[in-house]
């Protein structure tokens, strides 16, 4: 008999060494997230997977599961906080869903639908950020970056190229490229790399091929993010 934790009243078994997120996923239970991806080391920065573990707030993606833990995840107050946090993330960058080439395939957008976010009550910041189109096959659009660090991890840990780093502080946080010029075109990233495809939003996108999938056939036209997460599909 495996040991269990309790998430929202449901007993969830776990293997030793698993995090709360891993245990939940294995049991088919969705916990919202953006910076987490099961193929990479957890980062714990988007905080969308925050859960209350025995009266303490923790991120499910970093917190080791321990027998008997009482976890609160999908309560009204946690749902409402996640919804507000999603609005805050939208307000920080420049996310133009209606004409974004990632629309329909974007985790942030899908998450917003999933959480029932219909408008943004926070003032948008409209930061001025530059686009790096120096690479022949990829475009780096800083407007949409949410600083989840997935490309940093994918390039370093999967591709073995270490193309990206996170720099700046506070509102000036930014993704940088490990080249003398700072340009993506001078790096050795290729369109076949994991880092070229891992972006949950539209910050790293392939060149050409935009708007080729008709509305209705895009990934999230057929899937909700909470089912995707547990299926083998998108991730």
């Amino acid at each position: 008999m495996a040991e269990t934790i309790t998430i929202d009243g449901r007993d969830i078994p776990f293997e030793p060494g698993q995090t709360i997120m891993e245990a939940a996923r294995a049991a088919g239970l969705y916990i919202e997230h953006l910076c987490y991806n099961p193929q990479y080391q957890p980062h714990g920065s988007c905080k969308l997977c925050s859960v209350v573990v025995d009266d303490q707030m923790q991120t499910a993606c970093t917190m080791p599961a321990k027998a008997g833990q009482q976890v609160e995840s999908a309560s009204p107050r946690m749902k409402s906080r996640r919804e507000a946090l999603t609005e805050m993330i939208f307000a920080e960058g420049n996310h133009y869903c209606p004409f974004c080439t990632k629309s329909g395939n974007c985790d942030l957008q899908a998450l917003a639908y999933h959480l029932g976010m219909h408008h943004n009550s926070f003032n948008h910041r409209y930061p001025v950020r530059e686009i790096d189109a120096s690479h022949p096959d990829l475009v780096l659009d800083h407007d949409r970056c949410i600083f989840c660090g997935l490309c940093v991890r994918a390039s370093r840990d999967r591709d073995g190229k270490n193309v990206f780093a996170m720099a700046g502080r506070g509102k000036a946080t930014r993704l940088v490229v490990n080249t003398d010029s700072g340009l993506l075109g001078d790096s050795d990233i290729s369109q076949d790399d994991a880092a070229a495809h891992v972006c949950p939003v539209g910050a790293i996108m392939p060149k050409r091929g935009a708007y080729t999938t008709p509305i209705g056939q895009r990934y999230f036209d057929d899937h909700a993010i909470d089912e995707v997460d547990n299926a083998s599909g998108k991730l």
């Binding site: 905080k47 307000a91 910041r125 509102k171 490229v177 490990n178």
Partner: protein
């Protein structure tokens, strides 16, 4: 862009690497060193540094763009900062900053075209007891006033070397107005070490437990437990780190301890090293206190000569412990222990995911004790005099140092027993008719006069030691706005709720200040208070909304005044804000409209 000769860049990087080492973990100190040559870390130097240290350009860029005192573009030969802390504001520092900028013909934050001077505001410089304060090329400037500012302008224009400036401009006093157990008893050097040599590490940790000592940096974790956990953690190498990154606005007791009682602090670290089994310690000194470095180096060297530090402490062949000073580079977040460790490892100061905690996985993954300056100071005294001696005060928890500033007759250091009511400290400092006190700095809480019976017990009410008094004529919204801007400036940017929440809070505060806050801003504040503190990664985000929360909950009348009559049909379009960017470019200054 400034052009530097390649030969100069190479030479500077080589000398930096020679001095600080060639690994990636030396990157922060190397950047500091290179900047001493060029007043910035030139873009052309970044690939050179990266190659020399065997790291990436992104790593170096990440440092230069993170730390406030590392610069991407050259500064003036006189690099002047004035403290932006609320108590300095109350002493007129904003007016002085404008006067200085006007006198020198500079825009704040930008070097003058001739490269002579830069003037900029900066976070609290830890000189609140003798403000308005600032820094010039890393040296402290105290008791600034209009005459001094005007003279400063003359000195800079005449290119007078700093050594020829009036010495009293740089004078930093250590005003101690109340001494209790710790500050009233002199401790001959080595007393604590000899006491430990006669007993055992287990006995020392037991004495700390008896003493009731908990961490004096603000979090209040029991010191004995921390040392014991680190001692028992698996690992072959252990480290002791002294957190001298005293960045909480309004705190300066660590500055006084390092200036006047460095021996006891270092002795506390040496004791910790013996207790946990570490042979290496670091003092992480905030950049604003770089002027204390040479004094600390001198004390370290003297103690090595006296066999109180280094190899064979007290002549014991199995007792080795030495200490290295590492300078920060301007980042409040590095006061958080795991961010501090990241910074020590030469990285951006972003707090780590916990667990694991530093006691099991700290500096380079090794068990590490990080304690505040005052904690080590107290530990040395407890080692020398015993736990009962300390526990006799403050309901079994000893005494605490408070840095008192703001509207009072005698700003300075006050040592009081733990559990002393706020009102007693206000009275001792001569805070006549005080309206409110901010305990524990920007991250702490606002206590109104009717709450002055509240005791600082270090359990429910914790403090790093910042104690700012506000007189009867103060507008507490200015305090709220100052702290909210502070957090927006200092958030590290790692986690979404803090990074976005502090920016949104600041934008609301700016609209409040301009009389342009509406009902939706009220709703935004309520939601931010619900989300940012509970979801944030570390204590900074947990505290970042305290100022707005306290104003909302404790000063409802003042809070309500900040909102304009709401009308859902009004398009909340701020013409001034929309035009500000183009006006900046054209140099046209718009009229400030008031709502």
């Amino acid at each position: 862009m400034e052009v530097f000769r390649r030969g100069d860049l190479l030479a500077a990087v080589h000398s930096a690497v020679e001095r600080h080492g060639a690994g990636p973990h030396c990157a922060l100190q190397v950047c500091r060193h290179v900047q001493e040559h060029f007043s910035c870390v030139p873009a052309d130097a970044i690939p050179v540094i990266a190659r020399q240290l065997g790291t990436t350009t992104g790593h170096i860029v990440s440092l230069v763009s993170f730390y406030s005192f590392l610069h991407e573009a050259p500064r003036g030969r006189y690099d002047l900062y004035l403290s932006d802390s609320i108590t300095d504001h109350m002493l007129g520092s904003r007016g002085l900053l404008n006067r200085l900028c006007l006198g020198l013909g500079v825009v704040a934050g930008e070097p003058r075209l001739d490269g002579r001077v830069t003037v900029a505001p900066t976070s609290c410089t830890g000189l609140c007891d003798q403000g308005p304060a600032g820094l010039v090329n890393g040296r402290p400037l105290t008791r600034l006033n209009e005459q001094r500012i005007d003279h400063l302008v003359q000195l800079v224009e005449a290119a007078t070397p700093l050594d020829q400036w009036p010495r009293d401009y740089f004078q930093v006093d250590s005003p101690i107005h109340r001494r209790d157990l710790l500050l009233s008893s002199a401790m001959p050097h080595g007393t604590g070490l000899r006491a430990l040599a006669d007993s055992s590490p287990g006995e020392l940790i037991q004495q700390l437990e008896t003493a009731g000592l908990n961490g004096r940096g603000g979090a209040g974790f029991p010191t004995a437990s921390k040392w014991r956990m680190c001692r028992e953690a698996a690992g072959d190498t252990r480290y002791v780190v002294c957190n001298a990154d005293e960045g909480e606005p309004g705190t300066f007791k660590d500055r006084v301890l390092l200036a006047e009682y460095a021996d006891e602090v270092i002795e506390g670290m040496t004791l910790c090293g013996r207790a946990i089994g570490a042979e290496k310690g670091f003092i992480y000194l905030r950049a604003e206190y770089a002027w204390l470095e040479s004094h600390l180096e001198w004390v370290l060297e003297r103690r090595r000569g006296d066999e109180l530090l280094g190899s064979n402490v007290l002549g014991a062949t199995d007792w080795h412990f030495d200490i290295e000073i590492q300078l920060g580079a301007g980042a409040y977040i590095c006061g958080e222990e795991s961010a501090l460790i990241e910074s020590l490892e030469g990285k951006r100061g972003t707090p780590r995911n916990r667990p694991p905690y530093p006691v099991t996985s700290g500096y380079f993954g090794k068990p590490t004790v990080v304690n505040n300056v005052e904690t080590f100071f107290a530990a040395a005294h407890i080692a020398a005099r015993g736990g009962d001696w300390f526990a006799a005060a403050g309901n079994g928890m000893g005494t605490k140092l408070h840095s008192v500033s703001g509207d009072c007759a005698r700003p300075g250091i006050y040592e009081f027993p733990v559990n002393t009511p706020v009102g007693d400290i206000v009275e001792a400092a001569g805070g006549m008719n005080a309206l409110a006190v901010q305990v524990a700095g920007a991250a702490g809480e606002l206590l109104l006069a009717q709450e002055f019976d509240a005791a600082i017990d270090l359990k429910r009410r914790k403090t790093s030691g910042s104690f700012m008094i506000f007189g009867p004529d103060r507008d507490l919204f200015r305090t709220t706005a100052n702290f909210t801007r502070f957090f927006a400036h200092e958030t590290c940017g790692f986690c979404a709720p803090c990074r976005t929440g502090t920016q949104l809070a600041r934008s609301v505060v700016e609209r409040m200040a301009a009389g342009r806050a509406f009902g939706r801003d009220r709703e935004a504040v309520d939601r931010l208070i619900d989300v940012t503190p509970v979801l944030s990664h570390c204590g900074l985000g947990a505290a970042a909304l305290n100022p707005l929360r306290d104003l909302r909950d404790k000063c409802p009348q003042r809070y309500e005044q900040l909102f304009s009559e709401d009308d859902d049909n009004v398009l909340h379009f701020d013409l001034e804000q929309e035009l500000s960017e183009i006006r900046n470019i054209t140099g046209e200054t718009g009229e400030r409209e008031r709502g």
